[in-house]
Subunit: 328 residues, 2 copies
């Protein structure tokens, strides 16, 4: 009987769920005073649910916007909290991070929200920003479990599953338990993280298949040597690809500030965009798929999520050199 046919109230599912949480707690060294939730709705829904839960009516929250998703998080939060965009690198086309010294944080903010890795723009925070006593909220949809997590530095971490965890339709959340008491405004129980925490994320039927696959991913990550091993592997993967771009004499280009380059998503352009179509056609024919950049940016994007092996990066680099040689 498949996990999809089993009741989430049954012993086998409950045991699977408990093992999955235990594996994640071990992998990411999650302290006991943090709850782990397996939710639905995608990260986008939680752009709205986070202020519903973490901010009282009339409260403000600080948003650091360093790419598409951070801007969207601020926009979806606006019906529920007074959004203060404390820093924004849009004027730089999100090619660098807003320098920490320029962030206009409000010490009375309910929380500070940021996006450690921006999937579309290919920028990443390589250090956790210090925001004092205000809880730091991180949308880690595209870099969770790609490196060790220092959970104590955050009030709430959340991530859509579909990059580094499992299939879409599942959201992983790690939240400091004391913050759960903040949800005092009227809302349905199903939106209250405290209720989900009290019910082991089974206030209603969860995404059982997604949860099960997340568990298999956590086991795989443990077998790979854990998050430190993944971080090292991801560092090497990214370095090889950036080296190929930077060493191409301008044939390929990545415009992101060196200190903010993402290890998960590497956008790049060709020196002549007339070459985009043949690059995409030939790379796909060579088994290198989904390299087309986001429509907002054009060009190419290579995503180097945990599941991408070093061999795939080497194959891409070899293809890029060959393509440049052939197309001159």
């Amino acid at each position: 009987m498949s996990v999809m046919e089993q009741s989430h109230r049954g012993k086998r599912f409950i045991a699977m769920a408990a093992r999955t949480e235990a594996d994640l707690r071990e992998l990411a060294a999650i302290p006991d005073d943090y709850a782990v939730l397996f939710l639905q709705g995608g990260a986008t829904q939680h752009f709205a649910q986070i202020p519903m839960n973490l901010a009282g009516e009339g409260d403000g929250a600080d948003y650091i916007v360093n790419g598409h998703w951070g801007a969207k998080a601020a926009s979806e939060a606006a019906p529920y909290v007074r959004v203060n965009v404390a820093a924004d690198s849009k004027a730089d086309d999100y090619r660098r991070l807003p320098p920490r010294a320029e962030w206009k944080l409000d010490p009375r903010a309910a929380y500070v929200h940021y996006t450690p890795n921006e999937t579309i723009h290919g920028v990443q925070h390589h250090d956790i920003p210090d925001v004092g006593e205000v809880p730091l909220v991180a949308d880690m949809s595209s870099d969770i479990l790609s490196a060790p997590l220092d959970v104590r530095r955050y009030g709430l971490i959340y991530a859509g599953a579909q990059k580094n965890i499992g299939p879409s339709g599942l959201v992983l959340m790690i939240v400091r338990r004391d913050l759960l008491a903040r949800a005092t405004r009227p809302m349905a129980k199903i939106f209250r993280y405290a209720e989900q925490a009290a019910n082991d994320s089974m206030l209603n039927t969860p995404n059982t298949w997604g949860w099960y696959l997340a568990g298999l991913t956590f086991q795989w990550l443990k077998a790979q040597g854990g998050l430190a091993a993944m971080a090292e592997r991801n560092r090497v993967k990214a370095e090889r690809l950036y080296a190929a771009i930077d060493g191409s004499g301008g044939y390929y280009r990545n415009a992101i500030d060196l200190a903010a380059r993402s290890r998960m998503n590497v956008p790049f352009t060709l020196h002549d965009n007339a070459l985009d179509a043949p690059f995409l056609a030939e790379s796909e024919a060579a088994g290198l798929i989904a390299l087309k950049g986001h429509k907002a940016l054009g060009g190419m994007r290579a995503s180097l999520y945990n599941a991408v092996p070093l061999e795939a990066v080497d194959a891409l680099v070899a293809f890029m050199r060959d393509f440049a040689a052939r197309h001159g």
Copy 2:
């Protein structure tokens, strides 16, 4: 490459989604002025989202409560709409439906909500109630696609996928398009059905695996002869099981009003509850699993969803006769 690895923005996924919607429209004869949505959050989340979308601030809505889920729908709606429980059969332990003549409907209600089939209590409406011009909203989580749908009689139909459609984590919604304009209160875009309709249910990454499996189910239903054929099969399945219960001389009992007996969920008790444990152990050993009743009711429950073949019902009936003969 599995559907789980594909982008929901890719041609193959978009084509699959379009075919799935077309198959459903054909199966259930859905008129063009109804949108079909594939959402997340389970039916429980939509207990809250429906009033957010269909009722203005200050509006009232009528709720018909004929079981556990209808009561929960009313409770989760309460933060968003003035809930009027227009009929409630709790005083009868939900063993019958509240007679239509006794419903205290408000002609100014934003909508009338009811639960055509109650999974736990095993009661089912076999006729669509006439509620005049007020839009009728139906939570069909446990009986959708079990019989032909007269979509025009409803304003909004919704169903968690995990009974008759596919894996959990997906909600199917069929909604009259003109009702989508009612969502005027402040809320995040992700909660607005109109936005999901305008974006083909891809305002954010959907549950791609659930959607794909729903599509396979719709194809299977077409191959079975469609919903009329399913209805006939479900009628025969239910009749055989109720006949075995009613013909057992009181060894097995189902206390539901004959006119309201569900064709999807058949709760029954043994004449002596000391027999429950051996019944469950022996039935499981015979390959008849998950017969334990909901904890709120005790006893047994056989669910006869579309995926249950007639042979499974015959095997259960044979086991029940054999058990009664052996345990006397």
